[in-house]
């Protein structure tokens, strides 16, 4: 990871979900714990925020857009890998094989099937944020 990239990252979570309720629940809980929240209700809007803001964690509802959820998933996988963001996908993933060249250690995708419980989801997000911050601080020290 380059220092420029690590500097760009912030302890934020991007929620990409068309359901206002889901965004509301996640925002309310995570903001109460001091997390910065970014929101998108469409895939394209989410990808743009991911490219611009480099959040630590992306929570993506695979049904955010009608139609090609595999294409949407691929785009988010590529972008989150590029920006070293952890990706939490909500929904059913038919073929969850890792992309070529991505080893197990670097595979930061997490898949949570619907209907899910919020407690475990919030805990997953918090753990990923902690890991993200730990990596970010060690990168800055090394830099």
């Amino acid at each position: 990871m380059t220092s420029t990239a690590s500097e760009r990252r912030s302890a934020s979570v991007l929620i990409v979900d068309r359901s206002e309720e889901t965004r509301d629940v996640l925002r309310t809980i995570l903001e109460a714990r001091g997390v910065n929240i970014l929101e998108a209700k469409q895939g394209a809007e989410g990808l743009e925020l991911l490219r611009e803001q480099h959040p630590g964690v992306v929570v993506l509802d695979l049904e955010v857009d009608e139609g090609d959820s595999a294409g949407l998933r691929g785009a988010f996988e590529d972008e989150s890998r590029r920006h070293e963001s952890s990706l939490v996908m909500l929904g059913r993933v038919v073929n969850a094989n890792r992309s070529e060249g991505v080893d197990e250690m670097r595979d930061t995708r997490h898949i949570i099937e619907k209907p899910y419980h919020y407690g475990p989801l919030i805990r997953t997000i918090e753990q990923l944020l902690q890991q993200h911050e730990a990596v970010a601080s060690s990168s800055i020290e090394l830099g």
Binding site: R18, E21, V25, I29, A32
Partner: protein, 568 residues
């Protein structure tokens, strides 16, 4: 997509798409295609997709794999091939339809002016006239010709009988009647193969003597004859059967005292579907010397032909039933999948709301508790609406007509929807008719119908700035109608979609729509003798007109139904 369609066996009616490169077939549940047939091996066969098409490979199964009646180890499947594994018979349908394209290139349907051949109709004939291909009997013709004519008549009547019904029992009764009209049989029975057990099951029996004597007589049929016919797939004629060397002398024929019998297989395209058996009966020790046999080779040939016709009809009927069952299964599957999806989303909402309440209570934060409760409340409303729509759609019910005020119903709907509209920045306006008499309708159902349409209108305006929904009421004394008009300035609906929006599970709202709202509203209006009309312009908005007869209440009745109404 290529597929295997089960036309016989426990899984009859199921269609299996061959959508993977290799698909296993067998009894175990780890197969891609699990067939519930005890005569199929755990891992029986595999269909592999290759450059030449689809290759069926037998996986050393105990009972073998058959294509079009021939045992195979490997076989490239062609369109229409019959694949038999155990008792399960499937039809292979390939995805290649190049032949239809080729034919389409060869045939043109042209208008009169473009036709090079100046054709004109010089004669026409109706179906009924065309069916009378057998002319009247001529007394001067030879006995052979008369018999041939009679046989042709029987075959023609058989063909008519089998073509006029899709009910197998009805068909079999008709076949038995025809046989008894034509031949002097005393007893007869048609037995069909049970697809599960393979046993012959009597479906129709007839006993001429029993009818004449009005005595109850149990029909016994020789298993020896039945087994021979099934095994050799050929019809048999027995005359004084106890002397026929093909039969075991100790067998049932002697006991039964059969003098003459005809038993023929009902041979269809895919195998034997059953047998037809007729006999003349004389009890042992009471044989009567006859001048000649009642049954002849000619009778046997005709019986074989009749049985073949009947078998084809039975196979067609079974295939049709299987298709209907497949469509029902598909429709049921779609219904379950769609409803499960909506329930899953609602459940997700309830879990979110509950989690917020739990967290709010834990941290003594009433704002979070309230937010959580509002989400739970919204979702319990959603599930309630979904259940009500499901109930309304699934039941035919007579509206409970009570004197009601349409303006009040509309006002109630808007009260219910105002928070939702505000939430998405949509202005909700009411434009009530000044003169609206009390009318007879079911206010509960009408409220549901209007609510669904208004909900859609609000959703359609989400991207409009500012969104606006106007709900008006109109009462026309001249045409005796009352109308509720819901107008929005949303995206509008494409003309091609307008035809589809009233179809069940056709939603333009993606995951948010149940696809039940408009079909339910339309059903309610139609149950009231009215309908819903739609006018829409893309980019401008839509106008839904809910129209129903304006029924003035009869003061002598407090409640009424649509029967005996007075329409103003």
């Amino acid at each position: 997509m290529a597929s295997l369609f089960v036309i016989q066996g426990t899984d009859q009616g199921r269609r299996y798409d061959l959508d993977e490169d290799a698909m296993s077939l067998g009894r175990d549940n780890d197969n891609d295609i699990q067939l519930h047939d005890s005569e199929i091996s755990r891992h029986h066969a595999e269909v592999r997709s290759d450059e030449a098409g689809y290759l069926l490979v037998d996986l050393d199964s105990s009972n073998g794999s058959f294509v079009n009646g021939n045992q195979i180890t490997e076989h490239h499947l062609a369109n229409g091939d019959r694949v038999q594994l155990g008792r399960t018979l499937m039809i292979f349908t390939g995805s290649d339809d190049s032949s239809s394209f080729a034919l389409a290139d060869e045939v043109d349907i042209v208008g009169q002016s473009a036709s090079a051949v100046g054709s004109r109709i010089i004669s026409s004939i109706s179906h009924e006239e065309g069916s009378q291909i057998i002319g009247r009997f001529d007394e001067s013709e030879s006995p052979w010709l008369a018999r041939a004519r009679s046989n042709l008549q029987i075959m023609y009547r058989t063909a008519l009988a089998v073509s006029h019904t899709l009910d197998i029992d009805q068909l079999l009764h008709r076949i038995m009647e025809l046989i008894f009209e034509w031949v002097e049989a005393d007893r007869g029975c048609i037995m069909l193969h049970d697809q599960q057990t393979g046993d012959l099951v009597p479906k129709v029996s007839r006993n001429r003597r029993q009818r004449e004597n009005r005595q109850k007589e149990r029909l016994e049929i020789s298993r020896t004859i039945l087994d021979y016919v099934r095994e050799h797939r050929e019809g048999v004629l027995t005359s004084d059967a106890k002397d026929d060397q093909r039969w075991d002398p100790a067998a049932s024929i002697v006991k039964m005292g059969i003098r003459e019998a005809i038993c023929v297989p009902m041979q269809g395209r895919y195998g034997i579907v059953g047998v037809i058996y007729i006999d003349t009966y004389t009890a042992p020790g009471r044989f009567v010397q006859r001048a000649g046999n009642k049954f002849s080779e000619e009778h046997l040939k005709l019986m074989v032909a009749i049985a073949h016709q009947a078998a084809l009809a039975i196979e067609d009927t079974s295939y049709y039933s299987a298709m209907v069952q497949a469509e029902r299964l598909a429709a049921m599957g779609q219904t379950i999948a769609t409803l499960s999806h909506h329930i899953k989303n609602i459940l997700q909402g309830i879990r979110g709301g509950s989690y917020l309440i739990e967290e709010g209570l834990k941290h003594e934060d009433n704002d979070i508790v309230r937010k959580g409760w509002s989400i739970v409340d919204k979702n319990q409303e959603k599930i309630s609406n979904l259940v009500m729509d499901m109930l309304t759609f699934s039941k035919d019910r007579e509206p409970d007509l009570v004197p009601s005020d349409m303006n009040e119903v509309v006002a109630d709907v808007l009260d219910l929807m105002v928070v939702r509209a505000q939430g998405v920045g949509v202005e909700l306006k009411r434009n009530a008719a000044e003169s609206m008499p009390e009318l007879l309708f079911d206010p509960e159902l009408l409220q549901r119908a209007i609510l669904n349409v208004v909900t859609n209108a609000i959703d359609a305006c989400e991207s409009s700035d500012p969104g606006r929904v106007i709900v008006s009421t109109e009462h026309s004394v001249e045409v005796g109608k009352v109308r509720v008009i819901v107008e929005d300035n949303g995206d509008g609906i494409e003309e091609v979609d307008i035809k589809r929006i009233f179809s069940v599970f056709e939603s333009r709202k993606g995951a948010r729509g149940t696809g039940l709202g408009l079909p339910v509203s339309q059903k309610i209006l139609r149950e009231h003798g009215g309908d819903i009309f739609v006018e829409s312009t893309l980019g401008t908005g839509s106008r839904f007109i809910l129209e129903l007869p304006a029924i003035i209440p009869d003061p002598s009745h407090h409640s009424d139904t649509l029967a005996g109404i007075r329409i103003e």
